[in-house]
């Protein structure tokens, strides 16, 4: 029996990461649930064992149900019937299997029927689901909307919606509109208070809404009449059971065709407010987006895994000139680089997820009691890292997914261009990953602040303190050299930016990428130190690749005068 968890040693390695102990401690609060819930763990080992078993269930369903359905779903796609979405038949079967397995509220507290698992484990589940069917991951992965409800809504609202998510109802986040894409401050969907009914009423339209006909939708809407910017926006929940929203159309997309991307029309649809008015975009969407970006990083890593495996399989089976094409140097190098990028994506993803877990749990605890000074320190520390690492994880993993999918077709040659192999679907599916939930360009906008504020440099210096083995020492020294190049590049750019405004913006992506390459190299290197057999070679390969990319970016920066700002102005 194939299993996407058991066949992936790298995933298993990340579940065993030392920080998981601290995450479990925070997540389980002295294992108090054990007296109340028969499925709650008794201690840390028990919790970790449960995580592993649950991930095995996910891995089984991914391999046995979701992956075999992926091609059919891609062809069939969803459709609009009587103003609502009807999923492809394979999608329905996928949901059934996951719901029978009780995987609806993976991270939610047990009092809302959730499994109370860390975000890290949820990301692992998402990664496996995406490897099986990238488009389907959108629908299932949207359960993380419930995290935002859990963090900011009242007890009453939580009690109304969260158990339904645990039972397998799907979610959506209705943010974008025809004239409000990346610029969400321009959202115009109107929310007006209906005094008689005691609810908000939503009117207007939303566009590009993933799973727009989901059971529970978080809607960004303008509650403050007459306002035009972010300060007039609030977050509301629309319950499909109440009615009032029609699906006008499903977009016909290049890829992720099983995931219904909807245009919605709200006609007096009732809704309840989450948290405070006017904080919709400023606070809640930011939280929602950070979780969603981590979700895309997981989705991207899953796609890279699938595309790499497809290529590897084909390259071993396909013979030309009397031997498998994997034996030819040009193909072998591609395969090795694909593997290294996939491992680096995963390393970055789970490093970020662990930071998110710690700070999120401390945040939840801070709502229950006041934190000790040390805990407050810890929360701040990991919050900063999570904020800094999330855009990096999304940026790199989504770009890598595209590169790995591209190379996967290349290795398949002419056959890969035909519809007969999965690599063509993966290639189409990959293309959205560096666009939605903030394009790569917008990830750079979020990340550049952490270049300036020093978040990345501080963490790189911490990584430099990691213990080394004989085999990793020379690589670590290389990374120190690269870090010095990074510092020099930042220094040059900041100095010239003072002379010419816009110079830093011009080089932002290059600086962010240099930082990202060094960070990923360090995480990989730590793994290589712990498990030389599995990680040393891919780490060497990745660091070679990173060195090349960093040299390229640094050389561009060193060669760039302030006049470039004008040269590239449009």
């Amino acid at each position: 029996m194939a299993n996407f968890y058991l066949d992936n040693k790298d995933l298993q390695y990340h579940l065993g990461h030392p920080l998981m102990k601290r995450i479990i401690e925070l997540k389980e609060r002295n294992f108090a649930d054990a007296t109340e819930f028969d499925y709650a763990p008794q201690d840390a080992d028990d919790a970790l064992d449960s995580y592993k078993r649950v991930l095995e269930i996910v891995g089984d369903i991914c391999a046995e149900v979701i992956a075999p359905n992926a091609e059919g779903v891609d062809h069939e796609g969803p459709r609009v019937v009587n103003d609502h979405v009807e999923y492809a038949s394979g999608t329905v079967r996928n949901m059934e299997a996951l719901n029978e397995a009780g995987l609806g509220g993976m991270t939610l507290p047990r009092r809302f029927d959730g499994l109370n698992m860390p975000v890290t484990c949820f990301a692992m589940a998402n990664e496996m689901v995406a490897r099986a069917d990238t488009g389907f991951e959108n629908i299932w992965g949207l359960q993380d909307c419930a995290e935002t409800i859990n963090e900011f809504a009242t007890e009453e609202i939580k009690a109304r919606f969260l158990p339904r998510v645990s039972a397998g109802e799907t979610c959506a986040m209705d943010l974008t509109e025809p004239d409000a894409g990346s610029d969400l401050g321009a959202v115009m969907l109107k929310a007006t208070w209906d005094e008689a009914a005691g609810v908000w009423r939503l009117n207007g339209c939303k566009r590009f809404i993933t799973n727009g006909d989901g059971d529970i939708s978080l809607v960004l809407a303008r509650t403050e009449e007459g306002t035009k910017d972010a300060r007039g926006l609030s977050m509301l929940i629309y319950d499909k059971r109440d009615g009032g929203v029609k699906v006008r159309r499903i977009e016909n997309k290049l890829g992720i065709k099983g995931s219904p991307t909807c245009e919605l029309v709200f006609n007096n649809a009732p809704a309840v407010l989450v948290g405070d008015r006017k904080m919709g975009l400023i606070k809640y969407v930011m939280s929602l987006m950070n979780a969603a970006r981590l979700g895309i990083a997981a989705q991207s890593t899953g796609l890279s895994e699938a595309a790499y495996r497809e290529a590897l399989k084909y390259a071993n089976e396909r013979e030309q000139f009397g031997k498998p094409i994997a034996k030819f140097a040009a193909v072998a190098e591609m395969l090795k680089n694909m593997e290294a990028k996939t491992l680096a994506s995963r390393a970055m993803l789970y490093e970020t997820a662990r930071f998110v877990d710690i700070y999120k749990q401390l945040t939840h605890i801070s709502h229950e009691r006041s934190l000790e000074a040390e805990e407050r320190q810890e929360m701040k520390f990991y919050n900063r890292l999570a904020d800094g690492f999330t855009p990096l994880a999304k940026l790199f993993s989504s770009e890598y997914a595209n590169e790995v999918a591209y190379d996967s077709i290349q290795i398949h040659g002419g056959s890969g261009y035909m519809k007969d192999y999965a690599c063509e679907r993966l290639y189409r599916d990959a293309r959205i990953l560096n666009i939605y939930e903030g394009t790569s360009q917008l990830q750079v906008v979020a990340a550049i602040n952490h270049v300036t504020k020093g978040t990345y440099l501080e963490q790189i210096l911490r990584y430099e303190e990691n213990p080394r083995t004989e085999a990793t020492q020379p690589l670590a020294e290389r990374l120190v050299e690269l870090r010095k190049m990074y510092e020099a590049a930042v220094e040059r750019v900041e100095a010239l930016d003072k002379e010419t405004q816009g110079y830093k913006d011009f080089h932002a992506r290059r600086l962010v990428e240099i930082a990202g390459y060094i960070i990923m190299s360090h995480i990989m290197l730590r793994q290589a130190g712990e498990l030389e057999e599995d990680y040393l070679n891919p780490t060497k390969i990745f660091i070679k690749y990173a060195t090349k990319k960093i040299n390229e970016a640094a050389s561009y920066i060193n060669d760039s005068e302030t006049s470039d700002v004008e040269l590239f102005r449009h």
Binding site: S50, V54, I61
Partner: protein
């Protein structure tokens, strides 16, 4: 108090013979159990699903798995609990070793007399023996009606079940009084997956003999949670006639096992024209390959 319908699923742990390698058979011609993974017999999983559907519809019902086998067969009881069963019975002891289908059905029927279920469900057959005899023999021994090749539960109500059976050329729907023995075909719905909460809840479940060698911590843990204790019957617990158990109760003797090697002898090339296809159809019907 509302009546609780007691459903028992007879299941078997079998060597996985579906993807066998060279070492699947011993030189003596018996199954090399050491080389093959021990799995839940596939059609018994279909049977478990049918039983769980019965429970879903009745509401007030329990599903328990009964299996005869060595201690490690408790694995399939745990597996069933992960998927929805309430518990299980492990029938284990050296007296049962070497049982053929007659001795197996005798031993199971003794255990079933003790358990006294309202409905008995089983897979059609196990993939190690492929006899499909145990279910029907149990029904005969307990003097119960039997429905074989069950594919779908159409309806279940007090004292009566309506079942769709898979036949060679179609299906038929029958109504059986309960209690009855129902054996389930592989064409029935696949078993539901493991459920996350159930796995977390039942992962420490142990059968009596496993519990005996467990740590004190595990013993205390299970003592506080009786639902984690898998009932284990030894031969003496089910009051059998010893002469009908194990080898002495097994008249079946395997004389010889031969490997069958299928060889393609000839091939024929056909065009896609109607007359060629028609001729092939006639030939296949004449040779009884079709129809």
């Amino acid at each position: 108090m509302e009546k609780v319908t007691k459903i028992v699923v007879m299941a078997k742990q079998v060597p996985d013979t579906r993807n066998v390698g060279k070492d699947a058979m011993t030189p003596e011609g018996t199954v090399n159990r050491a080389a093959l993974a021990a799995i839940f017999n596939p059609e018994d999983l279909n049977a478990l699903e049918l039983a769980l559907q019965m429970k879903d519809r009745i509401g007030s019902a329990t599903v328990h798995v009964l299996t005869m086998g060595p201690q490690r067969a408790a694995d399939i009881i745990r597996e069933a609990m992960f998927r929805g069963a309430d518990g299980g019975y492990l029938l284990s002891g050296k007296e049962f070793a070497g049982s053929d289908t007659l001795a197996t059905s005798y031993a199971l029927s003794c255990a079933l007399r003790k358990i006294n279920p309202d409905i008995i469900v089983a897979g059609r057959q196990a993939i190690d023996g492929d006899t499909a005899q145990v279910g029907p023999q149990v029904a005969e021994k307990l003097n119960l009606p039997q429905v074989t090749y069950a594919e779908e539960l159409v309806e279940i109500k007090e004292g009566e079940a309506t079942i769709k059976r898979r036949l060679e050329r179609g299906s038929e729907t029958v109504v059986t009084p309960l209690p009855a023995v129902i054996t389930v075909n592989s064409s029935a719905k696949e078993c539901r997956p493991r459920n996350a909460k159930r796995v977390m809840k039942y992962k420490y479940a142990l059968a009596t003999s496993e519990l005996a060698t467990a740590s004190d911590k595990a013993k205390n843990f299970i003592e506080e949670r009786p639902y984690l204790h898998i009932v284990e019957f030894a031969a003496a617990d089910v009051n059998p006639d010893a002469s009908q158990l194990g080898l002495s109760g097994s008249p079946t003797k395997v004389k010889k096992i031969e490997n069958v090697v299928l060889q393609a002898k000839e091939s024929k090339t056909l065009t896609a024209e109607d007359k060629d296809i028609e001729a092939l159809m006639q030939e296949l019907i004449a040779s009884h390959t079709l129809g």
